[in-house]
């Protein structure tokens, strides 16, 4: 899967958040996206997945040669896109097992294997992510701890095998063991038919999942891209460096106050 984002602008409630994003993503590659709080990373994730509250006001998202902007979120999911949410919502009354079984059926509708091996695969996935099997009968995300919710996102990703996943701060709020488990999950999928955009504030996860490319987002734009060394620069210099390099003079002034 090849995702081409050109000059993407988007707003929510009349507030412009994305100011012209250019980004090329592809299965087989891991990209990292970093940027200060409020720079628009989650907005970008939601817009890629088709959240109806956001208005795309310019530019395009093209997947394998076709614009997906007119597609509903579920059509995008069936295309093979996946979003691991920064804040997964709780769905009371819907058990993990029931939810995943149906999601799996939808995703693999044309394959005979859809439901046959599902339970086995679900159990194997939970073992792999060191999750208690009890979760199958719990209501989705209800009362889950922060880390449990993040693991649940990765479990879904493992089962639904997307062509491209956006992972919005999946590493935030994880203890070091959980972080390793999550990284293990991503690396398990890592192959030419899977790609990911890992949104993160920390170098930590990128030590376990080596990115092919790193992008820095600032004020609704991707201001620079590079290889892994960019992460080290950021780690050493902080976002001041980004503001100095890519911000307007106002931003620098603002910072100086």
């Amino acid at each position: 899967m090849k995702i081409e984002i050109h000059g993407l602008r988007a707003s929510i409630d009349g507030q412009q958040i994305l100011n012209g994003i250019d980004l090329e993503l592809e299965s087989g590659q891991i990209h990292a996206l970093m940027g200060p709080n409020g720079s628009g990373k989650s907005t970008l994730s939601n817009v890629i997945m088709g959240h109806p509250s956001y208005q795309v006001t310019g530019g395009d998202i093209v997947v394998d040669g076709e614009s997906i902007l007119e597609m509903e979120a579920d059509e995008r999911a069936r295309l093979g896109l996946f979003l691991a949410f920064q804040y997964p919502v709780e769905i009371p009354g819907v058990t993990v097992g029931r939810f995943l079984k149906r999601a799996n059926e939808i995703r693999f509708a044309d394959k005979a294997t859809a439901t046959k091996g599902f339970v086995k695969e679900l159990r194997a996935g939970m073992d792999f992510l060191e999750m208690d099997q009890q979760f199958i009968n719990r209501y989705l995300n209800e009362g889950f701890s922060g880390g449990e919710k993040k693991r649940m996102e990765i479990l879904q990703m493992l089962l639904l095998k997307p062509s491209f996943a956006v992972m919005d701060e999946t590493d935030s709020g994880l203890d070091i063991d959980a972080l390793k488990v999550v990284a293990k999950g991503i690396n398990k999928l890592r192959d030419p038919s899977f790609g990911a955009l890992i949104i993160t504030h920390y170098q930590r996860i990128l030590d376990y999942v080596k990115p092919d490319r790193v992008h820095i987002m600032y004020k609704g734009r991707v201001v620079t891209s590079g290889d892994e060394s960019l992460v080290h620069t950021l780690e050493a210099e902080g976002y001041d460096w980004v503001r100095q390099q890519f911000g307007s003079p106002d931003d620098v002034l603002e910072e100086a106050r």
């Binding site: 997945m49 088709g50 959240h51 109806p52 509250s53 509903e72 979120a73 579920d74 995008r76 999911a77 069936r78 996946f82 979003l83 949410f85 997964p88 919502v89 769905i91 009371p92 009354g93 819907v94 939810f99 149906r102 999601a103 939808i106 995703r107 209501y139 879904q156 639904l160």
Partner: protein, 431 residues
């Protein structure tokens, strides 16, 4: 089956009904009080949102109680795993099935006729005093109508310290048109007894029924009763129900009701908690669509110390439907240490649909923990989006969320009903 009698001719109808003399007295007393009352009007607080003035109650017909078709041929046997079943068709007892063990699960008149055996006699005597008390307590005309029209009653009587093996099904079925049916269910658990009872009120697809039902529960000290009442009448019918429970010391009552049918619904369930340390759960599921009107009321009446009660009512409304939930927690001066809670959550699925939530507290003692909470709103768009991001279509996502809204309450009903409840809810989402 004959439907020749107009309900207005109540005295003549009563004369035609079978049963022991005392039952005739109960009916006559109910009629006497009935005749001195008016139908409830919107000037009464409980009926403020439910206007009966358009109904012509006198135009309904009653089913002649003497026309006892034995009906055993057309009784729909339920596939669920019931220890014992009682079947009623158009108000007439049509048969029973299964084994109640040491308990008595039978039709009142059959029981009174059989009449022998110590258990039998004490069961009939208890039912008698329960029904007499019901007539005295009744505070509105519909409740008295039920008692006046009552041809018989489904009786579940569990003697002291007996835990029934398996559940009881009371099936109230009807297929008449413009007819009134007055089912009566009496469940008496002596001290330490346990039972699981399901009452299902259903009808054929066609025909406008008026069901004026009632339920009398007595849960003795340390006894444990789970009762599930499922109403799934067709969408032309009218459904009234008055339930009452007397709950003894350290007794447990788990009651669930589901209103998943009828054009017009008005129900009330009152739990009189007269034993210290009792524990009461009142769960409710309702779903109104089209132009349906559903008004459900619960009363948690604390009269003894250290009892706990919770009401969880969940509703959904769509199209132009209107639902009302009224929940009252009342704590008498002699009920310190009361812990009572009520919560009502409503999903509004269409712009023109409406759900009213009216909790009230009447607390006349200190040292209590009482609270209520209610939420009414649309489906949460972030939940819809989450499911869509996993491939669920908008419709399927909405359906799953509406089902999820009721799911934890479904889980607390008798297992044999789970699929049926889910199916009925699914039909109301899609239909």
């Amino acid at each position: 089956m004959s439907l020749q009698r107009a309900v207005a001719d109540l005295a003549a109808y009563q004369e035609s009904l079978p049963g022991p003399g005392w039952l005739g007295d109960v009916r006559r007393r109910a009629r006497d009080r009935f005749e001195r009352m008016q139908w409830p009007t919107t000037s009464e607080e409980e009926w403020r949102r439910t206007n009966l003035s358009a109904f012509e109650f006198d135009s309904y017909r009653v089913i002649d109680g003497t026309s006892s078709d034995d009906g055993s041929g057309d009784v729909q046997r339920d596939g669920g795993s019931w220890a014992r079943q009682l079947h009623y068709h158009n108000g007439v007892f049509t048969g029973s099935e299964g084994d109640a063990g040491g308990a008595i699960v039978d039709d009142l008149i059959a029981l009174a006729d059989a009449g022998s055996g110590a258990h039998c006699e004490s069961a009939v005597a208890s039912v008698r005093s329960v029904l007499e008390a019901a007539v005295d307590r009744a505070d509105n005309r519909i409740e008295l109508w039920n008692l006046a029209l009552m041809s018989s009653a489904a009786v579940v009587y569990v003697p002291r310290n007996l835990a029934m093996d398996g559940a009881v099904l009371v099936e109230v079925n009807a297929d008449a048109d413009e007819a009134v049916v007055a089912p009566q269910v009496v469940v008496i658990l002596e001290e330490g007894a346990q039972a699981d009872v399901v009452v299902r009120c259903r009808s054929s697809e066609e025909g406008e029924l008026l069901v004026a039902g009632a339920e009398q529960l007595v849960v003795g000290a340390n006894a444990r009763l789970r009762l599930t009442l499922l109403q799934r009448l067709n969408d032309d019918s009218l459904y009234f129900h008055h339930g009452h429970a007397e709950i003894g010391r350290d007794a447990v009552l788990h009651r669930s009701e589901a209103a998943l049918g009828s054009d017009f619904v008005k129900t009330r369930f009152t739990s009189d908690i007269s034993g210290a340390g009792a524990d009461v759960d009142l769960n409710g599921i309702y779903f109104a669509l089209g132009e349906q009107h559903m008004d459900l009321r619960t009363v948690q009446n604390h009269r003894a110390a250290r009892a706990t009660s919770r009401a969880y009512y969940r509703g959904a409304v769509r199209d132009e439907a209107h639902s009302i939930y009224q929940g009252l927690i009342s704590v008498a001066p002699g009920a310190p240490g009361t812990d009572a809670y009520l919560t009502n959550k409503n999903l509004i699925l269409s712009e023109a649909a409406r759900a009213d939530s009216i909790p009230s507290l009447n607390i006349r003692t200190d040292d209590v923990r009482c609270s209520h909470g209610s939420t009414t709103g649309k489906l949460d768009p972030s939940q819809v989006f989450y499911l869509q991001s996993r491939g669920y279509s908008l419709n399927e996502a909405r359906r799953l969320l509406v089902q999820g809204h009721f799911e934890d309450l479904i889980a607390q009903t008798n297992e044999s009903l789970h699929d049926e409840l889910r199916e009925l809810i699914a039909r109301r989402i899609d239909g």
